[in-house]
């Protein structure tokens, strides 16, 4: 029988833990594989600022002791894992007394909001456009118009973002160029603030949706053309069902299954792409913070954001994995049924 079995859920949740663990380990390992260490970077920055630091080596030593950088690598690793579980990444290295979490946390809602809306929109619109392009019964005028919506697919997110800023913010002056909300509007739960936020979100959202939906559309078009020739699709037509019913129940319903899997796999790319978009639009999300922390070599903030992204991506994939058996009765996880 199809549907969610206990084994399937357990397997997926296990995969979720495993993915996060591997990702988190990588964010631990990669900075330690590099040449410089954060402490020397801080001290050298102090030297730049003041010309000369008297007891540089002692400062480095004391910092290293304080952050436990002299401990054996395994001890550091275990301590790090503990911190990850508690979402505690210590102090930001560039804005010292502020904990990394306090820098990242306010940025998170911006990114989550942008990503969730952008990914559902781009997938939803893309799949619909693709399904219509692949369906034989789509009116001819629509079939001629739809491919035009894919024109921007080959442009990278960030290039398209710059183009949008130029056209809509500088030229037409109808939308704000950067930021999450205007400086003169106080963040509060009222209409002025919400509409201001929405206005600021339009361009970043648009640049992600327009450039990424083409991929889904092209994939879905191919899947839909395949379904067009399936015996069950022909039989559904022979049964005299209404075209919309054939389209949804026998067309999209079947064609969307591989597309959903591709969507789960593509979430990571979408998230990394949105980092660049946030930077272009100076959108106050984690992508923007990540960019600034990279340029400032703020390791704790970097690690915090990377791990968050790993967790978000893995959770998105997990959610889609758990959704899959509900919409495709053939998928189920059983150890015995290996056919």
């Amino acid at each position: 029988m199809g549907g969610l079995t206990k084994e399937y859920v357990l397997q997926r949740v296990l995969m979720w833990f495993l993915t996060i663990w591997i990702g988190v380990t990588l964010t631990f390992a990669i900075p330690r594989m590099g040449k410089g260490d954060p402490v020397s970077v801080i001290v050298s920055r102090m030297m730049q600022r003041q010309g000369y630091v008297e007891n540089a080596n002692e400062i480095i030593e004391s910092y290293k002791r304080r952050f436990g950088l002299n401990d054996p690598i395994m001890v550091q690793y275990i301590r790090y894992l503990g911190n990850v579980v508690r979402f505690d990444y210590g102090y930001s290295l560039t804005r010292f007394p502020t904990p990394a979490g306090e820098i990242v946390r306010p940025a998170l809602p911006w990114t989550l909001g942008l990503l969730i809306v952008a990914s559902t929109l781009s997938f939803g619109v893309g799949v619909t456009v693709g399904a219509l392009m692949g369906w034989r019964k789509t009116p001819a005028w629509l079939q001629n118009i739809l491919p035009a919506s894919l024109t921007f697919t080959s442009i990278p997110y960030f290039m398209f973002g710059i183009l949008l800023i130029f056209v809509f913010a500088f030229w037409l002056k109808i939308l704000p160029a950067t930021g999450g909300y205007s400086r003169d509007v106080d963040p509060a739960f009222n209409w002025t603030f919400i509409s201001d936020v929405l206005q600021h979100a339009i361009l970043p959202l648009f640049s992600i949706v327009v450039t990424s939906m083409g991929g889904w559309a092209l994939g879905m078009r191919g899947l839909m053309i395949g379904v067009n020739n399936e015996d069950y699709f022909l039989l559904a037509q022979a049964k005299g069902l209404s075209p919309t019913r054939v389209f949804f129940r026998y067309g999209i319903r079947n064609a969307i299954l591989p597309a959903l899997t591709a969507f789960a796999l593509g979430l990571g790319g979408l998230i990394s792409g949105s980092t660049l978009v946030e930077w272009i639009f100076a959108y106050p999300g984690t992508g923007y913070v990540l960019y600034r922390s990279i340029t400032a070599l703020d390791y704790s903030v970097m690690q915090n954001i990377c791990n968050l992204m790993i967790i978000i991506t893995a959770t998105g994939v997990l959610a889609l994995d758990l959704l899959n058996p509900l919409i495709d009765p053939r998928i189920t996880f059983k150890k015995s049924a290996a056919s």
Binding site: L235, A238, K239, G240, I327
Partner: protein
């Protein structure tokens, strides 16, 4: 209903597939009729146009194919030029299909009850309770257990799936059912069961049927009349007894000789030569390249269909009309 009433008439049907390198003439001047309560077998080798004719009758020729000329009449009404909406009313009410390939003809992600139910719901206003009772009784009619109602296609065997298709086809008691190789891709035992189910259903409902197939043995057991196609042309039509006892067209003779026999070993004759390119058929008889009895006068024109015996028509110049 008079016994000789023609339920389905195919008149001068031409179907062509328009490819970049010319039109493929998949059905040329095909004439066929099915009387009430009759099973007509449509036979011929792969690519001869059997399925094209079936799809044309259903008005489901897929692009780039198109019905170029001809009429298809159900109970006297031509359905070739109906609008999409009018056609939807005719479909399944009057004209049902038992598809080729039992494996893929059911949607893998919908339950049997949904797939059988929506065929009925598309044509009748019916309450949920009545619908369930109706579907269950249809399943019962084809000898399937009630639990199939809630199952998905992948949980059924090939034979069970094909019986679901039969149950679905008779759901609205249509005037005619087109069975496109209903037993191919099934093993012999299951073929027997499915064929028996078809015959039972036919006997009980008195439905007319066109049965497409290339298994001459199975045809001999099931159909009342046989229509033989070659390269898009109808070459011989006749009652099953007289076709098997006295095949007239050289192609039919080859087909019947090709039925393997347990008693004797004989060389296979039917593979001699290949069908010509359907884009540019030769002038003259369509079977000229493979015919053992070909003569110069065969190359002049496609012979007309003549009645060589009672209801026995053949398109070959070696025979004279009665």
């Amino acid at each position: 209903m008079a016994a000789n009433e023609k339920i389905l008439e195919v008149l001068d049907l031409h179907v062509q597939y328009f490819t970049p390198r010319g039109a493929v003439k998949a059905a040329n001047a095909v004439n066929l009729y099915v009387k009430a309560g009759e099973i007509v077998g449509l036979v011929g080798e792969s690519g001869c146009g059997k399925t094209t004719v079936a799809m044309a009758i259903l008005q489901m020729v897929q692009p780039p194919g198109r019905i170029v000329k001809g009429e298809i009449r159900i109970n006297g009404h031509n359905i070739v030029n109906l609008s999409e909406a009018e056609l939807r009313k005719v479909r399944w009410r009057e004209l049902a299909l038992i598809p080729q390939g039992a494996m893929n003809s059911l949607n893998p992600v919908l339950r049997i009850r949904e797939q059988m139910g929506d065929a009925i719901q598309a044509h009748e206003a019916i309450s949920a309770r009545d619908l369930k009772a109706r579907v269950l009784s249809l399943l019962n009619d084809v000898g399937l257990p009630e639990r199939v109602y809630n199952m998905y296609p992948h949980e059924l065997s090939g034979g069970m799936k094909q019986r679901v298709c039969i149950a679905m086809a008779v759901a609205l008691n249509p005037a005619i059912i087109i069975a496109d190789e209903p037993t191919s891709a099934l093993d012999v035992v299951v073929q027997r069961v499915v064929a028996q189910t078809l015959l039972d259903v036919k006997k009980r409902l008195g439905v007319s049927m066109i049965m497409i197939g290339h298994d001459m043995g199975l045809q001999a057991q099931m159909v009342d009349r046989v229509a033989v196609m070659y390269a898009g042309n109808m070459v011989e039509v006749g009652p099953v007894e007289s076709i098997f006892a006295q095949p007239l067209h050289p192609y039919t003779q080859l087909l019947i000789e090709s039925i393997p026999s347990i008693r004797e070993r004989k060389p296979l004759k039917v593979t001699e030569g290949l069908t010509h390119d359907l884009r540019n058929p030769p002038t003259g008889c369509c079977f000229q390249f493979r015919c053992p009895r070909v003569e110069p006068r065969c190359l002049q024109a496609q012979p007309a269909m003549i009645e060589a015996g009672p209801e026995h028509l053949v398109s070959c110049i070696h025979y004279q009309a009665r």
